[in-house]
Symmetry: C2
Subunit: 365 residues, 2 copies
């Protein structure tokens, strides 16, 4: 039985394979902020126990209030969801999209969500020879052909590329003129060197943009499932019309609202990524046999240059050492010479570096 | 902005209206088992904190294991979801249903889920003069007209009626012959006098049945969002093909797996409903002005007989006393002379009875 698209983070499978507890697996395959959650998180989780006997507020007024303060966006422009994933699938359904432009490589669920609504997908290749950056001239030309929707991941997973601000404005203008909805997945935006919090204010005059964000990555709670989107209220109404009720549970809602207002956690996380991204990038560049792609996110795309090495072979060698990485060969536009690794805390980053160093020169057997 | 179908349980709205804390509202509008959760629930909730930094296992192997032991059904026949709701919407989408037969009055989300997929709904009225019971001859005849899907809620919300076993077998046979999928919503099944746990075993030879259940009602955790469905594996594969990943979060998964194996909670809950359902039914019958419908579930449908009384008027009078009931007029087939009340613990049941008694003879102003 198929369980959907390929993803990192299948810690349970690897733990079973090696007969160890999942907590013993060092997971570089899912891109989660490793900054420890504030100790008070426990209190908020326990507080939710007092409300498990009630349905969640269908409008999530408290949570949307916290999101409004966090994002500076009016509550009426905010919808919450079971991770970014729910909002992605909901958008595909509610907007009844037919012709969709999809830059690749990118997050696997886009393609799956679009396939579920039988959309006609045109792939827009981000080219290796262009460093996987978005070629704006080529994109403008392609958008002229007329699409219902374009999905952009910014910064992009798995390449780590951020769209230049000037390019973004061109895309916004073009989508506006072409009546193309722009779905902008910003689930990694808080990791970028200059978090573009101004973006929603800048885009709010554009009626055809949906910004999807989540607490999954930056706030490090993939297990709780909490995402949100920001959009023009007319566009949100179309989503509300198809939205399933109560999809965010009370534990996610309570903990999420607390974390959004925890300035200390946010500060510590920013300091961590500011240190570790350049550190890991530089250290990886020192190991021969990898091409390291500059990233604006909390993960790094690597190309394996050593003869005979493949992503699945390397993945298995690392799994033997209880380290999980993302074999990136399943991303359309990439092949078995690509892997993606998350950036973790210094101690674990050093462990990965050491293991990669130890494999250096090793021939595929 | 519309937020979907009408439901009970909007405790937050009433709390805001009267400027009190939601915990001060006595909620008879949502049908939740009031038996206190085992004290160890807290431990399991806290345990989930250790896993919030990981994506949930997409296949939910541990949770499905617990469901398998609880239901006696093979894991391969089990799928979990964000409440029964997700599985309902998923079924409507994945089976691409067009012609649907829908007995009414029944749970409001059926109609909404079907409307979302533009299904052509034929309503099958459960008639007041038949005590809202399912007229099997009329149903057989209607099914002969050929439908893709029929949704039966058993016991039915809001009427409390249970389908007779012989009738169920007739329906199963008929659906099999007609190639109609039978979606059987059993979210209240554990409250029935003789819980029909044998049902899945009996229906498993039928390839076209989906049983939807949830931990929402009987295990009293609507705030955590946890449902599941049991079906033939070929049918489940169709659902898997459209299923959104990770919709059950780790808190729901941990607490759910624990509760399913807590025999003491299950026992106490059965004893409670065995006491309170006949008690409330009898006491309500003693108050003139109500027609009391016999229920096999943990709620009771009432018809207001007193001249001038309407469901919304009575609802408001009770809200003034911080008691929330379900105005049942929004159910197709019912009108403003119907309300539905949940059965709670003895102390709260007595409170409601007292207030209803005090309103006796009161004229609408």
């Amino acid at each position: 039985m198929g369980f959907g698209a390929v993803h990192g983070g299948d810690v349970e499978r690897v733990a079973r394979k090696y007969g160890v507890d999942p907590s013993e697996i060092l997971d570089f395959s899912a891109n989660i902020n490793p900054t420890p959650l504030p100790v008070e998180t426990e209190d908020y989780l326990l507080k939710s126990l007092k409300e498990v006997d009630r349905y969640p507020d269908r409008e999530y007024r408290r949570l949307r209030g916290a999101l409004s303060r966090y994002s500076g966006v009016n509550q009426g422009n905010i919808m919450v969801g079971n991770g970014a994933t729910e909002l992605l699938y909901l958008t595909a359904r509610a907007l009844k999209v037919s012709r969709v432009l999809l830059p690749v490589p990118s997050f696997a669920e886009y393609e799956r969500a679009l396939t579920c609504v039988q959309a006609d997908i045109t792939y827009f290749p981000l080219k290796e020879e262009e460093g996987f950056s978005l070629n704006i001239d080529r994109l403008m030309k392609e958008l002229s052909r007329g699409y219902d929707l374009i999905i952009l991941c910014n910064p992009n997973n798995p390449t780590g590329q951020l769209i230049q601000w000037d390019d973004m404005m061109k895309i916004l203008e073009k989508c506006q003129r072409q009546e193309t909805v722009l779905l902008l997945d910003e689930t990694f935006i808080e990791f970028t060197p200059q978090p573009q919090e101004r973006l929603f204010q800048e885009i709010s005059p554009y009626p055809n943009v949906i910004l999807i964000r989540a607490l999954t990555k930056f706030f490090g709670i993939p297990g709780l499932r909490l995402g949100y989107c920001l959009a023009n209220s007319l566009l949100l109404e179309k989503l509300w019309a198809q939205k399933e009720p109560w999809t965010v549970n009370i534990a996610a809602s309570m903990v999420g609202a607390f974390l959004l207002e925890n300035g200390d956690f946010i500060q510590r996380s920013r300091e961590w990524i500011k240190e570790e991204r350049p550190f890991m990038t530089a250290k990886l560049q020192e190991i021969p046999g990898f091409r390291v792609y500059q990233s604006c996110a909390n993960f790094i795309l690597l190309k394996l240059l050593q003869e005979g090495w493949t992503s699945s072979w390397l993945k298995e060698r690392l799994e033997e050492r209880r380290i999980l990485i993302r074999d990136a060969s399943s991303f359309p536009g990439l092949d078995s010479s690509f892997i993606r690794i998350a950036i973790k805390d210094r101690e674990n980053n050093l462990k990965l570096l050491q293991v990669l160093e130890s494999l250096r020169g090793r021939t595929v057997t």
